[in-house]
C-alpha cells in the first residue's frame, strides 16, 4: 500500500486516490478545425515515462485534483501540488 500526499489532506492510503491522466495535456480549442491526428494525440498519446513521471491524480474523499511527481519504477513520490493555483 503506497502513501500519497494529498496537497490538502496530507498523507493518505493509495486506495483513496484515482489516477486521472498524465500531466501536461491541454484540450484543443474545439471551436476551431482540429485535424484527426491532433485530436487523437490529445485523447490517446502518452509519454508513459519509465522513471520520473508527472501525473494528475484525484484524492477521492476531498475530490482534490493534483499533480504528482513520482518514479514509475521505484514508486518514490517526489512531490504533489494542487492542479489549481494555491489560494492567496
Amino acid at each position: 500500500m503506497q502513501i500519497f500526499t494529498c496537497p490538502f489532506c496530507g498523507p493518505r492510503d493509495e486506495r483513496e486516490f484515482h489516477f486521472a491522466a498524465e500531466a501536461g495535456k491541454t484540450r484543443p480549442d474545439t471551436t476551431r478545425q482540429i485535424d484527426p491526428e491532433t485530436w487523437a494525440t490529445y485523447l490517446h498519446a502518452q509519454r508513459n515515462d519509465k522513471g520520473r513521471t508527472r501525473e494528475v491524480w484525484m484524492h477521492l474523499p476531498c475530490s482534490e485534483l493534483f499533480l504528482m511527481e513520482r518514479d514509475s519504477v521505484t514508486m518514490e513520490v517526489f512531490s504533489t501540488h494542487p492542479l489549481r493555483k494555491e489560494p492567496q
Binding site: 500500500m1 482540429i34 485523447l43 482534490e64 514508486m75
Partner: protein
C-alpha cells in the same frame, strides 16, 4: 524407539497429546510440532518426494523443511499442505503425508523411482506431443499435486485484517532481535518485535547461557525490558512480505484451524534479525531419511528435547556443528565427526540409514547431520529492494546496499557468533551505525561437484538432482531463471530455501564462473505460504461490494417487495410472492390502467452552483443547457471525451446559478467524479461548485392515467405545471421538489423530499392510490414501461460505442456552437460511418414469443454476419404483444424491413420499427 530426552526443552511434559500420523497413533507434548513429536517417536519417513516418491525424513526444524508436508484434520476439518515442522501439535490431530498412498512409509508409487532415468529435468517438453498432449495430461494431473483439498468450508475460518504502525519493527526474536528491540525500545522508539515461533529466543535456546546468564532468564529479562520500555511483542507472527512504500505484511497465526490475522504494518524503520538457515551438502543419496541439517538437530534438541538419532555422523565444518556435537554426546548420542572435504561421499541405506561412506571409510550411522554453511535469510531485504553482496569468507550472500530504513543484524547479517551479533544488534537498535563484524571463522566451501557419481539431490521436494542441473547447462538453460524454470529447482513449496544456493553453486561450478556472477533468482513474497483467507477478511457476503440501501427499505419489505441489485442499490424488483415475470406484467399493466408509485430515490441529485454553473453544464452536456429557463427540465446526454454516451438523464434549472443533475442511479459516483475532474481541470473551480445531495432526498414517482388524482390528495400546487417543469414547494411543512418528467410515457410526477420524511409521503401516496386500484411497482415493471416507449437504459440499450446521433439525437452534433465534452470525437471517420449501430424497435409476427435478449440480427448470407443485437425484450402487457429494442447497423434506414434474428443457431423473423411502440404522439403524457 523414543528419541525424547527425559528433561529439557520447551515442551510441557505434563500435557501429553495424542494424534495420528498416516492412521497410526502417536503421542507428543504441548509445545511440540507434529514433526518433533514424530521425530521423538522414532518415525523416520514423514513424506515422499514429488516426482520419484522417494521416502523422505526431516531435513529442517522450521520453515525451511522441504519434505514433511501433511494434510491435517482437527475437529472434522481438514487443512491441506501443513508443514509438519511449523504446525504446533494439538490433541486429536490426524495427520496424513500428502501425495502418498496408503502411507508415507509404504507408498504405492514408490516404483516410479525405478524409471527415474527417463524423468530427467524437462522430459515432458520432449515427448507427449503425438498424437496429442490431451492423451497424457489427465494421468499426469492425477499424479501431480500435493494434498487434496476438502470441499467443506468452516464458517469460523475468517481472517481479521488490520493496520498498525510503529517506529521500529524488529523482525525475528532470536538473540540479535531481542537485543535490538530492547535497545530500540529503551531509546524511546515505539518498538514492535515479532517472531514466528510460539516462544521468543530463536537460536538462543541452543545456548546454555548468554551474557553469563542462563538462557531462559536472559530471554525473560529482554522481554520484560522491552515491555517495560513500552515496546510490543507479537509471537506466532511472520513478516511475509515487504511492499512499496515500506509496507510490511504480517501474518499473525492463531490456534490450528483459524485463519491468520493480516496486519498491514507501517514502520519508520525495520531491523531484520531473521537469522540464517543451513544449506545441504550435495552428495550421493543425500535425500535419505535420517539426513538432517545441523541447525535443525540443534533446534530439535533445544526446543523439543529430542535427539535426531542415536548413532550420528556429523558432516560439517561450522563452529555450530562443534557445539552441537558436544551437546549430542552429552545427551547420550554417539557422534562421529566427518570432514565434508573427503570424497566421494555417499549415504548408505534405504528407508533406514545405515552408514555414511566417506572416501574409503564407512561410518555406521542411523543419522547424518549435514551443513554446508549458513545462508542468511535475506528474503525480506530483497523484497524491499536491498542488494546482496557475496562474502567469500562466509561463502554466502549477505545484505549489501540497504533499502530505505532497513538494517540487518545478527545471523541475517552474517554474524553467526552470538557475542558479536549482540553488540551489533544493540547498536542497530539504538540507531547507531555499526560495522558488520568480521567473521571469526572462515567457512570452507563445499559446493556440488559436477561430474561426480551417484544421484545427488539439489531440490528435495521437487527431485532435482545435480545431473538435472548438468543437463540444463548442457542444453544451454544456463541463465539462473532458465535453470530454475527448466528443472523446477527452487519452485517447490519451500520456495528454494534449501535448494537455491546449491543449485546456483552447481551451475557456477559447471560453467566455471564465480557464484555471484551466476546471480540469484528473484525473492518473491510470501516468505512462507499463507492461506488465501488471510487476504479475504471482511470482504465477504454482504460486505463484498455492499449495496446502497433505500430510506424506504423497511416500507418495501413490509409491502412484500422482492429486493434485488439494480445499479448498486438494493431495490424492489417487484412486490408479492407470485411468479416474478407475471408480477412484473401485472404491475406494468396497473401503471398503464390506473397509476403506480415507484421509489426512484437512487436517481442522482447533483447540484451545480455558482456564477459559471451555466457555462459549465453547457460544456459537460451534449445538449445545449444554457437556454434552459429556471423551473424547467431538459433531457440530455453526457459524453466521454471519446464521444460515447456516458450517462443520460434530466437536468433541471432551479435558478440562474443553480442546476440539479439527475443522472442515472448507477452513475452518481462516476458522474460526480467526472464533473469534479472537469471543474478543476480547464474551468475556474472558484466559480463552480458541485454538491452531491442524492442521499438527502427520497424520490417517489407517481405515474399513470390516475397520477394526478393521487397527487391531488397531497394538496400540492400543480396548476400551470407542464411536462418538463420543476417546482419547489412543500408538504406538511417540509420542502418538496416536484418535477414533471416521465420515464413511462404516462403523466408522471416525481416527488423529492428529505429522506426522513419519505415514510410519511410513501404512506400518503399509497393511501391515495389504494382506492384507485393503484399501488407500488418495482424496477422490473418500470423496465417494461420504459421499453414500451422506446426509452433507453444506459449500458443495456447502449454500448460503449454508442454516440448520441445513434439514438436519434442529432441536433447538437450539427449545431451546438460552444465546446462540449466529446465534441470533436463525434466527427471522426468512425462517427461519420454509414454502418453505425442505431437504436431501433423490433416487432415479431403475431403470436410469436418475445425475441431473446442478446439475440443478434444477422445478414442472410450463407455465413451470416452480425448486424447488431437485441438489447431489451419484453412481453408488453399494454400492447398484448412482444416488444424489443435493438442496436442495429444502419437501423434508421431499415424501418419496415424484415430482418433475421439469430440466437444459438436458431433464426426468427422480425420487423424493424421505431423504438417507441406505445403512444408515439405522446398523448398519454397529459392524459
Amino acid at each position: 524407539m523414543t528419541l525424547r530426552l527425559p528433561t529439557g526443552g520447551l515442551i510441557d511434559r505434563s500435557k501429553p497429546l495424542t494424534f495420528t500420523f498416516d492412521g497410526k497413533p502417536h503421542t507428543g507434548y504441548a509445545g511440540d510440532t507434529i514433526a518433533s513429536a514424530l521425530l521423538a517417536s522414532g518415525t523416520r519417513i514423514l513424506g515422499r518426494s514429488f516426482k520419484y516418491h522417494r521416502p523422505r525424513g526431516l531435513w529442517g526444524a522450521w520453515v525451511d523443511e522441504p519434505n514433511a508436508i501433511m494434510n491435517v484434520t482437527l475437529d472434522g476439518h481438514e487443512f491441506p499442505n501443513c508443514l509438519a515442522t511449523t504446525t504446533y501439535l494439538q490433541g486429536g490431530m490426524a495427520a496424513r503425508a500428502v501425495n502418498t498412498w496408503p502411507s508415507a512409509r509404504f507408498d504405492m508409487k514408490a516404483g516410479l523411482d525405478l524409471f527415474h532415468r527417463w524423468f530427467a529435468a524437462g522430459f515432458y517438453y520432449k515427448t507427449f506431443m503425438w498424437p496429442d498432449w490431451h492423451l497424457f495430461e489427465p494421468l499426469i494431473r492425477r499424479m501431480a499435486g500435493l494434498g487434496a483439498v476438502s470441499p467443506d468450508h468452516l464458517d469460523t475460518y475468517t481472517s481479521d485484517q488490520t493496520h498498525d504502525r510503529c517506529d521500529t519493527l524488529v523482525i525475528g526474536g532470536g538473540p540479535a532481535g531481542l537485543a535490538a528491540a530492547e535497545a530500540a525500545a529503551q531509546s524511546g522508539q515505539d518498538t514492535l518485535l515479532i517472531d514466528d515461533h510460539a516462544q521468543l529466543g530463536g537460536t538462543a535456546h541452543q545456548l546454555p547461557q548468554i551474557d553469563a546468564t542462563p538462557t531462559a532468564d536472559w530471554i525473560a529479562q529482554r522481554q520484560s525490558a522491552i515491555e517495560a520500555a513500552g515496546g510490543r511483542i507479537l509471537t506466532h507472527t511472520t513478516a511475509f512480505g515487504i511492499y512499496d512504500h515500506g509496507l510490511v505484511g504480517l501474518a499473525q497465526n492463531g490456534p490450528f484451524g483459524t485463519a491468520p490475522r493480516l496486519i498491514r504494518l507501517r514502520a519508520a524503520r525495520i531491523i531484520l534479525a531473521t537469522g540464517a538457515i543451513d544449506r545441504p551438502l550435495t552428495f550421493a543419496n543425500n535425500d535419505r531419511p535420517g539426513i538432517m541439517a545441523v541447525a535443525a538437530a540443534a533446534e530439535y534438541l533445544a526446543r523439543y528435547a529430542t535427539l535426531p538419532g542415536r548413532q550420528i555422523a556429523l558432516l560439517a565444518n561450522t563452529p555450530q556443528a562443534d557445539t552441537l556435537a558436544a551437546q549430542l554426546t552429552q545427551a547420550g548420542a554417539q557422534v562421529t565427526h566427518v570432514d565434508p572435504a573427503q570424497s566421494p561421499l555417499s549415504a548408505r541405506g534405504g528407508k533406514r540409514l545405515k552408514a555414511l561412506q566417506a572416501g574409503d571409510r564407512t561410518h555406521p550411522a542411523d543419522t547424518i547431520l549435514a551443513s554446508g554453511g549458513l545462508t542468511p535469510l535475506v528474503h525480506l531485504w530483497r523484497h524491499a529492494g536491498g542488494s546482496l553482496a557475496w562474502c567469500d569468507r562466509r561463502n554466502a550472500f549477505l545484505p549489501g546496499t540497504p533499502p530505505d530504513n532497513m538494517t540487518a543484524t545478527g545471523a541475517a547479517n552474517g554474524s553467526f557468533e552470538t557475542d558479536e551479533a549482540l553488540e551489533h544488534a544493540r547498536a542497530t537498535g539504538q540507531n547507531t551505525p555499526a560495522k558488520r563484524p568480521d567473521p571469526k571463522h572462515h567457512i570452507t566451501p563445499h559446493w556440488p561437484a559436477p561430474g561426480s557419481k551417484g544421484r545427488q539431490w539439489i531440490d528435495f521436494q521437487h527431485d532435482v538432482t545435480l545431473k538435472d542441473v548438468e543437463l540444463a547447462a548442457r542444453e544451454n538453460y544456463t541463465s539462473v531463471e532458465h535453470l530454475k524454470r527448466y528443472t523446477t529447482l527452487g519452485m517447490a513449496s519451500d520456495q528454494g530455501k534449501t535448494s537455491n544456493m546449491p543449485g546456483l553453486a552447481a551451475m557456477a561450478a559447471i560453467q566455471g564462473r564465480p557464484i555471484p556472477e551466476v546471480g540469484t533468482t528473484t525473492f518473491r513474497p510470501p516468505f512462507v505460504p499463507v492461506p488465501i483467507e488471510m487476504y479475504h477478511g471482511a470482504h465477504t457476503k454482504q460486505l463484498w461490494n455492499p449495496l446502497k440501501r433505500l430510506a424506504l427499505e423497511p416500507q418495501h419489505r413490509a409491502a412484500g417487495a422482492a429486493l434485488g441489485e439494480y445499479g448498486g442499490w438494493l431495490r424492489p424488483g417487484w412486490y408479492g410472492k407470485g411468479d416474478p415475470v407475471q408480477q412484473a406484467q401485472t404491475e406494468a399493466l396497473m401503471a398503464r390502467q390506473t397509476a403506480a408509485i415507484f421509489d426512484a430515490s437512487p436517481l442522482g441529485k447533483i447540484e451545480v452552483m455558482g456564477p459559471e454553473a451555466e457555462a459549465f453544464v453547457n460544456f459537460i452536456y451534449y445538449n445545449t443547457i444554457a437556454t434552459l429557463k429556471p423551473g424547467k427540465i431538459r433531457y440530455g446526454f453526457m459524453l466521454t471525451e471519446g464521444g460515447a454516451v456516458f450517462d443520460d438523464g434530466v437536468i433541471a434549472r432551479l435558478d440562474a446559478n443553480r442546476f440539479v443533475i439527475s443522472c442515472s442511479s448507477s452513475h452518481v459516483d462516476s458522474v460526480r467524479t467526472h464533473l469534479e475532474a472537469w471543474r478543476q481541470d480547464g474551468n475556474d473551480p472558484d466559480r463552480i461548485f458541485i454538491h452531491d445531495t442524492t442521499q438527502h432526498w427520497a424520490t417517489l414517482t407517481v405515474t399513470g392515467p390516475r397520477a394526478r388524482a393521487i397527487l391531488d390528495t397531497l394538496d400540492l400546487d400543480t396548476d400551470d405545471f407542464p411536462h418538463m417543469s420543476l417546482r419547489e414547494t412543500s408538504w406538511q411543512d417540509t420542502p418538496l421538489r416536484l418535477a414533471r418528467v416521465s420515464f413511462t410515457g404516462d403523466t408522471s410526477f416525481e416527488l423529492s423530499i428529505r429522506a426522513s420524511k419519505a415514510p410519511a409521503l410513501w404512506s400518503a401516496l399509497l393511501d391515495a392510490a389504494k382506492p384507485l386500484d393503484a399501488g407500488p411497482i418495482g424496477v422490473e415493471a418500470l423496465s417494461i414501461l420504459r421499453a414500451e416507449k422506446g426509452f433507453l437504459m444506459i449500458g443495456k440499450d447502449t454500448d460503449g460505442e454508442t454516440m448520441p446521433h445513434d439514438l436519434g439525437f442529432t441536433a447538437p452534433r450539427q449545431k451546438k456552437s460552444t465546446p462540449f465534452v466529446g465534441d470533436r470525437s463525434l466527427h471522426t471517420d468512425k462517427a461519420n460511418a454509414p454502418d453505425r449501430k442505431q437504436l431501433v424497435g423490433l416487432t415479431v409476427p403475431a403470436g410469436a414469443p418475445p425475441l431473446p435478449t442478446g439475440a443478434h440480427v444477422v445478414t442472410d448470407d450463407e455465413i451470416p454476419r452480425s448486424l447488431g443485437y437485441v438489447t431489451s425484450s419484453y412481453l408488453s402487457p399494454t400492447l398484448g404483444r412482444p416488444i424489443a429494442l435493438a442496436l442495429l447497423e444502419n437501423g434508421t434506414d431499415r424501418m419496415g424491413d424484415t430482418i433475421t434474428a439469430w440466437h444459438l443457431g436458431e433464426t426468427r423473423q422480425a420487423t424493424v420499427t421505431a423504438p417507441c411502440a406505445l403512444d408515439p404522439e405522446g398523448a398519454r403524457l397529459d392524459a
